[in-house]
């Protein structure tokens, strides 16, 4: 008996090794097992909806609607549990990868479950609010899946084998050099350099982070000002200008890094809070149905 378990375990380990070697992500986990299950579920719902004649008309209150609604509500709670699962280290069959794969594909199937649960009756009420929130959560999650599969490559290309602290350190180095090199400059010229030194590389709101555009960038402004200035010693100024443009490049790399990270992270700021708004709306939806039964 013990040897049997051992064999199974060793086989499982072997399969896991193969997966590791081929770097099987959560999307293609177990040869798209959850994609198939979820697709089959959607197909079943769409076909049965077309075949079953629900009276008096399809909506959430028919037996078919109740069934879909129960499945959907359970699914929403289970999908939310990913946040709990990912914080918990376990070593059993439900690997986090498997869980995430199921989360993504079953979450997508919720589009069909939830929408077909409505019977396509939508209006300005809490019931449709729950549906809208659900769709927003799913769409933000879909965005997350897409950026997770496309943006990390761009992130890696941009960092050019630097860590993010090394990027910051490069800027610091340029700042020190700038500070030293700018000493001979006239006060008129030092002001823009000082502003450039005073600039926080992490400044800028969410819009600047997402767009990667910093129109008020002090480094760029200093570069422009010193390029036009004639007041200081030309040699010292030239050195400062060279350092400023180098800093600008380093800053651009950091900002691009920040932008890609923002694009990678922003969906979670929609996904997670709206999930809880959805659970609140779902509770109101279910309570309202039974309250005014």
């Amino acid at each position: 008996m013990a040897s049997l378990f051992q064999r199974r375990r060793s086989k499982a380990t072997q399969t896991e090794r193969v997966r590791e070697r081929r770097h099987e992500g959560f999307l293609r986990y177990a040869n798209f097992r959850w994609a198939k299950i979820s697709g089959g579920l959607c197909l079943l719902i769409i076909v049965s909806y077309a075949l079953i004649d629900v009276t008096p008309r399809p909506n959430g209150g028919s037996w078919y609607g109740y069934t879909l609604g129960t499945i959907g509500a359970g699914l929403i709670l289970w999908l939310t549990a990913l946040g709990y699962r990912k914080r918990k280290m376990t070593s059993d069959h439900w690997s986090l990868k498997a869980w995430t794969s199921a989360h993504v594909y079953l979450g997508l199937s919720l589009i069909v479950i939830g929408t077909w649960h409505t019977g396509f009756q939508l209006g300005w009420n809490v019931h449709t609010l729950a549906w809208v929130l659900m769709m927003l959560v799913i769409l933000s999650g879909l965005y997350g899946v897409v950026v997770y599969s496309t943006l990390p490559a761009a992130l890696s290309n941009n960092r050019d084998e630097m860590t993010q602290m090394q990027m910051l350190e490069a800027i610091r180095a340029f700042d020190r050099q700038l500070h030293a090199a700018a000493q001979p400059l006239t006060p008129q010229d030092t002001a823009p350099v000082l502003a450039a030194l005073d600039e926080d590389p992490f400044a800028g709101g969410i819009m600047a982070r997402l767009s990667g555009r910093y129109p008020d960038c002090a480094t760029a402004a200093a570069l422009r000002a010193l390029g036009a200035s004639r007041s200081s010693d030309a040699g010292a100024r030239e050195k400062v200008v060279g350092l400023l443009s180098q800093k600008e490049v380093a800053l651009a790399r950091l900002r691009q890094h920040l932008r890609i990270r923002a694009l990678l992270e922003i969906w979670l700021y929609v996904h997670v809070p709206l999930t809880f708004a959805l659970i609140a709306a779902l509770s109101a939806h279910i309570v309202s149905v039974f309250f005014y039964w």
Binding site: G61, S62, N125, D175, L194, Y269, F276
Partner: protein
């Protein structure tokens, strides 16, 4: 008097090294340029920023030289006088100059207190490089959104319910529980939109019939008579065995206390604005499809045949008929011989509807006086009621007397007729006629010429005339007999009973059934585009009035198919017909209710025969000479079904 410049540097291990350096001269210059006595490598400091002097070796004056001041006690000033014994802190750019007094000497301590640049500051890598630095936290967002939604859509509506739970009628305006409205109310209940509690009286209790009856007093019986009189066990046995879906629904209903058989079971609300939808066929067919077998199994005697869909499974009609002369009306049993209905009249439809022959020629001769054509049509004798639903009983004076005249005498241009429906009066009138009027006087008896003897001889004029005068009253008996006997005016149409002891001439009572199909509703008005003979197919060949000319199921199915379009025969103009098109549930025998939008018949095909109404010219306008052809066309195919039925 001397100034000491103190510099403090910190080793990596945190040890501080203090170096003091006496400064030459009375005036100490301070600036970024190397020529200053105190050289501060700080871009925020001017090349020649300030001069520090002391007149008495104790009080220090700091004077800014190039317009850019310094910070002293939090304020930017251009000059400051400081008692070194008291000490002071001045700030030049990112550096701090501390003035103190030790051993009669003025100590100037210069330290960099600001970072060289903003980027040099320490950062929390996890926070600075992620969005956490610029976005409110996810946890915070989750709480805020969650609480807001719960407040607006759960607490608010419950509060709205609680505020008005013992109020009869809510005030107008928005109430939070309107957010729970699952769909618009039907037009009849539209005014209740912001008063959820008018129907949902108790929380977690499904809408009760009591809430309906609160307003619908009287006009709605809870059930039709047939259903109300049936034992509950029988009604339960009639229901079809539940499928998977219905078991799920029943499970939900049972678990969450949603009783079945309430008004709202059929009259579903929140299904969209506009009239409440008619109850679909399935609500009837759920029981009536295959019901008799289930009833027999359960030990009940079924009284109605199975019906599932008008197009496929529907029993043959059972019109009310009188199976023998003078019998009481009873429902016919189709399939047991030809259907007969004794209404007491003799009326061969075939004779009257012939295109040629005596009747047709007589009708043609009356053209202009009556609305006759070249021959008689059904509508020449059969008139519909004012609402168009049914056909009026035939009335002799109105519908027959155009041809079947009962006139017997003209007095001064006025025609006297026998009284219809009163045989005793007829007898009396004929008697009086024969008694009061002499026979026509021969011409020979007129004039003033001398009368010759011999004219009184038998066979002569006088003899004939005066004998006639003498016996004339006795002729009345013959005339009466003739009227009531074969060949007479009454006998043609009525069954006559000859006088017996104590009675005179009697005519059999005529019973025209006003409504043959009492369980279903038929509206002639809805079918007025159709020729009578299209449905009453047997009329043209009917030789006796006992033939029942009510159309059967077969004729209806020429156009009417099941609710879902099911049919057994080929149909050109398919009219989808749910049960509720003909059957009324609550008031047995009444007109079935149907929402206006469904009154327009859902025709799936267009008949290939254009209706007469579409090309019949209704009016020619304009003067006779010009614009003769400006015609107003009748609106085509305004089907009567739009107006109900």
């Amino acid at each position: 008097m001397s100034f000491i410049l103190r510099r403090i540097s910190t080793t990596k291990t945190g040890k501080q090294i203090v170096r003091d350096q006496p400064l030459p001269g009375d005036a100490i210059t301070l600036g970024r340029e190397g020529s200053n006595v105190i050289h501060i490598a700080d871009l925020a400091v001017n090349p020649h920023h300030a001069t520090i002097t002391s007149a008495d070796g104790r009080h220090v004056r700091v004077q800014a030289s190039e317009g850019l001041g310094f910070d002293f006690n939090g304020r930017t000033v251009d000059a400051a006088d400081i008692d070194s014994a008291a000490g002071a802190e001045l700030r030049f750019g990112g550096h701090r100059l501390t003035i103190a007094r030790e051993d009669e000497k003025i100590i100037l301590l210069v330290e960099r207190i600001d970072e060289l640049s903003q980027s040099s500051k320490d950062v929390d890598e996890a926070k600075a490089f992620s969005l956490a630095g610029v976005m409110p936290g996810k946890r915070m967002g989750a709480w805020v959104f969650g609480v807001l939604v719960l407040l607006a859509f759960l607490i608010g509506p419950i509060w709205a319910w609680y505020s008005y739970h013992d109020v009869d009628e809510r005030p107008q305006g928005y109430h939070a529980d309107q957010a729970w409205l699952s769909g618009p109310l039907s037009s009849a209940h539209k005014s209740l939109t912001n008063d959820c509690q008018s129907c949902h009286v108790e929380p977690f209790v499904a809408v009760t019939d009591k809430a309906c009856v609160g307003c619908h007093t009287g006009e709605h019986k809870a059930m039709s008579m047939a259903h109300a009189n049936a034992p509950t066990a029988m009604l339960l046995a009639a229901r079809h065995p539940p499928g998977v879906g219905e078991r799920i629904l029943a499970g939900f209903a049972k678990t969450f206390n949603k009783p079945q058989g309430r008004c709202v079971g059929c009259h579903t609300e929140h299904e969209g604005a506009g009239p409440m939808p008619a109850t679909p066929q399935k609500f009837c067919a759920d029981c009536h499809d295959g019901m008799s077998a289930r009833l027999i199994d359960a030990g009940f005697k079924p009284t109605v045949a199975d019906a599932a869909d008008f197009g496929t499974i529907h029993p043959e009609f059972r019109p009310l008929v009188r199976p023998s002369p003078g019998a009481k009306p009873m429902r016919a049993m189709p399939g047991k011989g030809a259907l007969v209905d004794y209404d007491g009249l003799k009326f061969p439809h075939d004779l009257h509807l012939q295109a040629t022959g005596g009747v047709a020629r007589m009708a043609a001769s009356f053209r202009g006086r009556y609305d006759f054509g070249n021959k008689l049509e059904c509508e020449n004798c059969h008139r519909v009621e004012s609402d168009g639903v049914r056909v009026k009983p035939v009335e002799m004076e109105r519908d027959c007397a155009m041809c079947h005249s009962l006139a017997f005498e003209t007095v001064g241009g006025v025609t006297r007729t026998l009284r219809h429906g009163e045989p005793d009066q007829v007898v009396a009138d004929l008697m009086a006629y024969y008694r009061s009027t002499p026979p026509t006087r021969p011409l020979q008896l007129g004039g003033m010429e001398r009368r010759r003897p011999g004219n009184y001889a038998e066979g002569q004029v006088y003899n004939i005339y005066f004998r006639e005068v003498a016996v004339r009253p006795n002729r009345a008996e013959d005339a009466v007999r003739a009227v009531f006997s074969k060949g007479g005016a009454c006998y043609d149409c009525h069954t006559i009973f000859a006088p017996q002891a104590g009675t005179g001439w009697r005519v059999m009572a005529v019973d025209q059934t006003p409504r043959f199909l009492s369980k279903g509703w038929f509206d002639h008005d809805a079918h007025k585009e159709t020729d009578c003979a299209d449905c009453h197919t047997a009329a043209r060949g009917s030789k006796a009035s006992t033939d029942l000319l009510i159309p059967g199921l077969r004729q209806c199915r020429d156009c009417h198919v099941g609710e879902g379009g099911a049919r057994l025969v080929k149909v050109e103009t398919a009219t989808e017909s749910p049960c509720a098109m003909c059957h009324e549930y609550h008031s047995d025998g009444g007109k079935p209710w149907m929402p206006a939008r469904q009154r327009k018949v859902n025709s799936a095909a267009i008949t290939n025969k254009p209706l007469r109404a579409t090309y019949g010219v209704s009016m020619v306008t304009g003067s006779a000479e010009r614009g003769l052809y400006d015609v107003t066309w009748r609106t085509p195919a305004l089907h009567g079904a739009r107006r109900g039925g």
